[in-house]
Each structure stands twice: as structure tokens, then as C-alpha cells.
């Protein structure tokens, strides 16, 4: 597969510079640990970053406390993934956010419909965001859009440190390019006929699209961890696993692996746990976004080669 073309630059919401004291950092909030990690890389020491969702949280379900709301209320800017991932936060942001600008880091990414179907232009034109897959970070090229969005937002809020942000962003973009290259290299060992991916819920849409895989099927249909398959879909998935010679079922660490385990047992393949919606803690194997991608791709390669 070729490189994903980056869509038009995101129209960052009109933010204006906030007056900061010389050594006062910009107060920044990010929702998931993955968004937070990218923001940290762009902002560096110049910002005071708060990550809203704890490590290991399923971003599809989360409840906030008054502290969370207070943090948002006191912040200069909030970065969210968007694309319907943090549905729970709409009202919290509307309520506590008040004047706090909210930046959707995924703005400008070319979105794909979930469940493995490649987005065609029709789907893009369709304003129905419920059909878009929110798991954009499985393609580092999408994260490059994040970086651009984050950098421009931070710079406009805090023009004095714009240079720092630009330098940090440049450095990190380079690392993302390196990651993209590394992934392309790593997956070459997987033969063409083994590039079928099965996963608990539809997180591999962008990964498959970028690196020449096919998301053969998911256990829960739709993009949510919160639904249940029918017997027909399970049967179809089992057939697909056999037909495509799928070697493994990947399961998020935050999701119950029961169905996957049974299906794997019946078809004689293995279950491989990976990280999807959240990083591990710093000492774990997926403490940063870069490590997270390397870890997951490592597991994929290991399982499918």
C-alpha cells in the first residue's frame, strides 16, 4: 500500500492568544492517553498537561468527577480525538468547558467507515459521522495530522513559545515518519495470503488501509465495545477465519476475551492481546504512542508471519 494522503488542513477553531506570565505554562487537557502522549511531545515542558482518562480506560465508556470538570474549566485548551470516540464528553465539555476552546485533533483526517469497509467518496460526502471509525491513530500518518493541529493550536494560544512548539513538532513528525517506515519494513515478512486481521472491535480499519492488510472481521459488529453479535455473524466470522487462513484473533486488553477465546479454540488459532484505546503505564511495553505501535505491530507480525 502507498502512503495515505493527508486531507485538507484542519480549520482549527478560532482561538486567540492568552496572556501568560513569563514562566506560567499553558494549561492543557487531553482526553485519552494516546492524544495526551502526542500533545506532550509537541508541547514539551512549555505546557502543563493533564490527561483526563486514566490508563487502561475504555474510551467508549468513562465517567467524570467534579475534578475533571474543574480541570477542564480551568484549562486554556482541551484536545480530543473526536470522530465520536469520546461521546461521553460532549455534555461535560459543553457544560464545564464554557469558554475553554476544544480542539479536535482528528480534524482534516480522511475518515474511513468502520468494519473494514473502505470509505469511498460517497461515504465521505455523507455527513453521518456515526459511520466513521474513530480509531484513526492506528495509522501514524493520521497522527501527523494531529501533530499539525496541536502545534497550530498551541502556537496561536501561546505565540511567545511558537518556535518551541514548531521545533518539537518537527522532531516528532520525523519520529512518526520513522515509525511509518519501520512498520512498512516490519510487515513485509508477512506473506500476502496471511494478511487477514480479526479483532474484537473495529480498530484496524486505518491500519489495514495503510499497510495492505484486510480487516477480515470483528467480533462485535460496529465500532463499539458495547454490542453483541448474532449467531449468523459469528458463523460468518468463523467461515471467514477458515477461508482466509487467519492465524490469530487480536483482543484489546480492556475487552472481555471470552468470545474470541471460544472462536479461536474452535478454529484452532491463537488469541493475541494488544493495546488499542489506551497506553500501558510508563514501565509497560506500550508506555508511549511510538512504543504502543511498535508493540502492537510486533505482536501482529509475530502472530501472522
Amino acid at each position: 500500500g502507498g502512503s495515505t494522503e493527508v486531507g485538507p488542513r484542519a480549520p482549527v477553531p478560532p482561538v486567540s492568544a492568552v496572556g501568560l506570565a513569563p514562566d506560567e505554562p499553558l494549561r492543557v487537557v487531553a482526553t485519552t492517553s494516546i492524544v495526551a502522549d502526542v500533545v506532550r511531545n509537541v508541547g514539551g515542558d512549555a505546557i502543563a498537561l493533564t490527561q483526563l482518562m486514566p490508563l487502561g480506560a475504555d474510551p467508549h465508556a468513562f465517567e467524570s468527577t467534579p475534578q475533571d470538570a474543574g480541570v477542564i474549566s480551568d484549562a486554556h485548551v482541551v484536545f480530543i480525538n473526536g470522530v465520536g470516540l469520546e461521546v461521553f464528553m460532549d455534555r461535560l465539555l459543553a457544560s464545564a468547558g464554557g469558554n475553554t476552546p476544544v480542539v479536535t485533533v482528528s480534524d482534516g483526517i480522511r475518515l474511513l467507515a468502520f468494519a473494514g469497509e473502505h470509505a469511498d467518496d460517497e461515504a465521505l460526502a455523507d455527513e453521518d459521522h456515526g459511520e466513521d471509525d474513530p480509531h484513526v491513530w492506528f495509522d501514524p500518518n493520521n497522527v501527523k495530522v494531529w501533530v499539525a493541529n496541536i502545534e497550530s493550536a498551541l502556537s496561536e494560544l501561546d505565540p511567545d513559545r511558537a518556535t518551541t512548539y514548531r521545533e518539537n513538532a518537527q522532531a516528532y513528525l520525523a519520529e512518526l515518519d520513522a515509525l511509518d517506515g519501520w512498520i512498512r519494513e516490519a510487515v513485509t515478512v508477512i506473506p500476502e495470503d496471511r494478511r487477514g486481521l480479526v479483532i474484537d472491535h473495529s480498530v484496524f480499519t486505518y491500519f489495514a488501509h495503510a499497510y495492505g492488510f484486510e480487516q477480515v472481521g470483528t467480533i462485535t459488529t460496529g465500532g463499539s465495545t458495547l454490542s453483541q453479535p448474532s449467531a449468523r455473524e459469528m458463523a460468518a466470522l468463523q467461515e471467514a477465519i477458515v477461508d482466509h487462513g487467519v492465524r490469530a484473533i487480536f483482543v484489546s486488553t480492556t475487552v472481555n476475551p471470552r468470545m474470541a477465546e471460544q472462536l479461536a479454540r474452535d478454529t484452532g488459532i491463537q488469541v493475541v492481546p494488544i493495546y488499542t484505546g489506551s497506553l500501558s503505564d510508563a514501565s509497560g511495553p506500550a508506555g508511549t504512542y511510538l512504543a504502543f505501535m511498535r508493540y502492537d505491530v510486533g505482536r501482529i507480525v509475530e502472530a501472522l508471519r
Binding site: T65, A69, A96, G130, T221, S224, L226
Partner: protein
């Protein structure tokens, strides 16, 4: 400023805290009023059931409207009222007990909702939100809606106090007094549905069930008359809302959970120390 005052005032800096407290008080009062009837008629679970039952309505509303919050609310409300009327009809026909009627319709509707969602193949129907609610995410317009509801429910409960009392206590008497039993029965069901759907918007299922049941049950331990029971229940509901939110602010517990826990705590105190039916009193009596 005195430290205590400081403690009380500090959270009020945030407008969302103020809105949350107002919402919790309003919901606490309305739920207590409506919940009194539910507790007395053995329908404590109607809240939980209705909240789950509106799922298919929400799913259909989502499909039809393409995801707008407004239409989904009205679809939910419509389904809630229809379900409440269905439960009312099934329970009134005396074919099955009221709680069984609730159970059947609840699980049937919920299953229908899940089936619909599973064919929709879309996840945007925000289930977890309905489960946990989010009293801190209450918008000013939600607040107006809740306040409007609170006034409506209070007025109806006040106007029909006599009639609802007789209906709940002795339906044969209601018949012989020629009260329009059917109308009143369904009016109460609609009131309950209205309360639940609006409360759901602001506070979520778990919190709502607690607000419907626990204050009314606590008040039941403390008085032997209906009107004071409603008053005490409303007071407990409101106090739990305030204390719970402060607790949530200072201890950092999820706000809905904090309110429920305060509520449950008050119930336990009443259970132990009620002058009328308290355990401690019974225990003291049996010893001397």
C-alpha cells in the same frame, strides 16, 4: 473568610457545579414525590425498567433523525410513556402482578433495543451515558427542562393528592367513589415516565433508581402519614444531592455515585435510629 464558609463556597466558583447542584436538588425533589407512590405500590423498579425500555425508542430516533440530540430525547420520551402505559395496562388487567409486568416489558423492550442497535451497526447510541448519567454535564437548557418538569409534577401531585392516595391505598374505594381510576392510573404512569426520561437526561439510570426509591423508603421509616412522607422524602433527596456533590468535589468520587451513597447512608441511619421502626429502638425495647 471562615474556613467552613470557604469550604462551602469554593466549589461554587464553577458554574457547572452550581448547575449540577440545582439539577440534583430538582431531580431529588421530583423523584421523591413520584417515588413515594412507586414505593407504596411496590413498583420500586419501574424506574430502572423504564430507563432500559426507552432504548429501542432511542435507537429508532437515532436512525430517523440521524443523531440529533433533540429528536432522540423526544423519541425516548414517547417510548417511555408508551411503555409506562403498556405496563399500566398489563398490571391493571390483573393478569400478572405489577412487578412481573414491569419485568416482562422491560426485558422485552431492552432486547428489542439491542436487536435494533445490532442491526444498525452503529455505536453512537451512547449507552454508557444513560447508565451513569452526568450531573455535571447539565446544560442551562436541561436545567430549564428539569425545572419545568419539577413544577409540572409537583402541581399534578398536589392537585390529585386525594385521588392518588385513594387509588394507591384502596382501589375498590376509588371505584365506588367514581374516581376516574383508569385516567388517574395512566396519569400517574405518564408522570413517572416523564420524570424518568427527564431525570435520565440529567443523572443517569443508577442515580435515578436510587433517588426514586431510597428517599421514599427512608421517609417511610420515619412517619406514619403520606403527606409528611412525601415532604421528608423530598428533603432527603435534595440534601443528598447537595452533600453528594460536595463530597464528590472534595473526595473525587464520581458525582452520581456520591449522591447515591449519601442517600443510602441516610437510609441506613434511619433504619438504625428511626423512632418508629428503628432497629436500635426495637433492640432496646426487647431488652428492657
Amino acid at each position: 473568610m471562615a474556613p467552613l464558609l470557604e469550604i462551602l463556597v469554593a466549589p461554587l466558583r464553577y458554574p457547572f457545579m452550581v448547575r449540577g447542584i440545582v439539577a440534583a436538588i430538582l431531580v431529588g425533589i421530583v423523584c421523591a414525590l413520584v417515588g413515594t407512590y412507586m414505593v407504596l405500590r411496590g413498583m420500586a423498579f419501574l424506574g430502572d425498567a423504564l430507563a432500559h425500555s426507552i432504548l429501542p425508542g432511542i435507537a429508532v430516533g437515532y436512525i430517523v433523525s440521524g443523531g440529533g440530540r433533540g429528536p432522540i430525547f423526544w423519541w425516548g420520551l414517547g417510548t417511555g410513556i408508551l411503555t409506562a402505559l403498556g405496563i399500566g395496562a398489563l398490571g391493571k388487567g390483573a393478569q400478572v402482578k405489577e412487578d412481573t409486568a414491569i419485568g416482562i416489558i422491560f426485558s422485552g423492550m431492552f432486547a428489542l433495543g439491542i436487536a435494533l442497535i445490532s442491526t444498525m451497526r452503529s455505536y453512537a447510541v451512547d449507552l454508557s451515558h444513560f447508565l451513569f448519567g452526568d450531573v455535571l454535564g447539565v446544560s442551562p437548557s436541561d436545567l430549564w427542562l428539569t425545572a419545568g418538569l419539577a413544577v409540572l409534577v409537583s402541581v399534578i401531585v398536589f392537585v390529585f393528592y386525594k385521588e392518588f392516595l385513594v387509588l394507591a391505598f384502596d382501589s375498590t374505594l376509588a371505584e365506588t367513589l367514581r374516581f376516574p381510576s383508569g385516567f388517574l392510573h395512566y396519569l400517574l404512569m405518564v408522570l413517572i415516565a416523564l420524570t424518568i426520561v427527564v431525570a435520565l437526561q440529567t443523572v443517569g439510570i443508577a442515580l435515578m433508581v436510587a433517588m426514586l426509591t431510597t428517599p421514599a423508603a427512608t421517609a417511610y421509616l420515619l412517619t406514619k402519614r403520606m403527606a409528611p412522607m412525601m415532604g421528608i422524602a423530598a428533603l432527603i433527596g435534595a440534601v443528598s444531592g447537595i452533600v453528594g456533590l460536595y463530597l464528590s468535589y472534595y473526595v473525587s468520587v464520581a458525582s452520581g455515585a456520591a449522591i447515591v451513597l449519601v442517600c443510602t447512608g441516610i437510609f441506613l441511619l434511619a433504619l438504625l435510629f428511626s423512632p418508629r421502626r428503628g432497629i436500635v429502638r426495637g433492640w432496646l425495647q426487647s431488652r428492657g
